[in-house]
Subunit: 293 residues, 2 copies
Amino acid sequence: MREAVPTVWLNGELRPSGEPVLQALDRGLLYGDGLFETLRAYRGQVFRLEAHLARLKRGADVLRLASGAAAGGRDAVVDQARYAVQAVLRANELQDAYVRITLTRGVGGLPYELDQADRPTLLVTARPFHGYPEELYHRGMTAQLAQIRRNDTSPLANVKSLNYLDNVLARARARARGFDEALLLNTRGRVAEASASNVFVVQAGRIVTPPVTEGILPGITRQVVLDLCEARQEPLDVPAFLTAGEAFLTNSLMEVMPLVSLDGSPLGTGRPGPTTAEIAQRYRAQVRLELGS
Amino acid sequence: MREAVPTVWLNGELRPSGEPVLQALDRGLLYGDGLFETLRAYRGQVFRLEAHLARLKRGADVLRLASGAAAGGRDAVVDQARYAVQAVLRANELQDAYVRITLTRGVGGLPYELDQADRPTLLVTARPFHGYPEELYHRGMTAQLAQIRRNDTSPLANVKSLNYLDNVLARARARARGFDEALLLNTRGRVAEASASNVFVVQAGRIVTPPVTEGILPGITRQVVLDLCEARQEPLDVPAFLTAGEAFLTNSLMEVMPLVSLDGSPLGTGRPGPTTAEIAQRYRAQVRLELGS
């Protein structure tokens, strides 16, 4: 299910995916020193490609990645990523797809020497993806409150870095106990996000999601929803979360997904709510509008 | 300076280091889903190899890594790592060396599916290393208090995982301001460790280091020092740290390194202290004793 399609992009060329592509001393492997983006293509067109590329560039700014002249700087890397995404989709004749951009600092330098690597590694992979099962949207996802907190003292909290193992472990633990997702608090004990998605609540007609300062990843789908329904960005404590009328999750792959319980306690009615359904519809309409399909 | 020597170990064989070794979908790259160890060889012999391998195995237990039958289980991986370390040293005719073991979950599975990867990736690299300059031990290191906290709510805090970018960034920021190291607090505001080393203080003749429950990596050198000088493991708050008579850092590469200031304020006399010097001597004697050189 996670198989790459046959052809991937590596540093300027299309390559068979079975071949090894990464050097032993690539800092992406050594320290998780890099970034990624996950994008969704509908009928061959990537939704909000420019927003993903802009976030990739902001992440590179934070990590001081790809600043070297040899690489042509961050703009050149972003330009190459834009081209590579289309090239990988075309080369594999993919219509509905999951696309991943991985950008590492490359090889070189002592661990703390951020500017000594030769050139960044840019890798683009893809696989067919047709969306989550519709029945999941009808029943909604369940979540477990994770023991792992989101480290909002780190600049990585706001960046989609390759240091992703806390998210993986939090979700694996939740899944092992029969939950779909894990909900992470920040170090101040307030709601941050789910393991692989942003979180919203509906409270007395107001739509609320935690602001970036709460240690969240600024999701692309989150921003679309913010724009579509005038949601507010406000800190969200656990009591407020538990008493919300509705809750939902967002990311590029699942779009807008109802969240119906936390640790077995129903959120609102314990069933997907009407506001969530309305927002999910608006999101899909926006996708169709922008991609002209 | 960080160049690999010509030959590396990958999954059972010696390979030229210039060749790409890692698959595009290796989880070590995708999520930092793996572990590493850094070891030091003196005259061709690795100090405390078994302790490093035991920590690697404990880390694999925590991450549920390399549990599959296809891989022969964790013991088989550890056995292979033991063999590979010696093979890489021999193949490159290295005497005094830095050796790195990297173990990833390999390729496969959805992000949260910890048991679906085919087989772990084991990579061993090495390079010549003759120790830090002696003059650094004479003047001692300076540290900056990092803004990034050590996330002691995560199981990764006690594991040497590939999610190492917080440490890299904390130290890079400290170095950019003229400090040698970064000192990280945990989320409770107490002293945890430095970016790449454990920390000890000497207070009225007592030698103290934070316990594992403070969110620290249980360092191999730290354990040697604990055994050699009956140090205590106690939580360490910032005021106690600042009023200590001496402070020092430990890791396998730097051994026992005086720490003489924090944010420009001297620790103790602001010069390497006699207890630190005594412990450093004992440590080097222990290395000679165990390696018979």
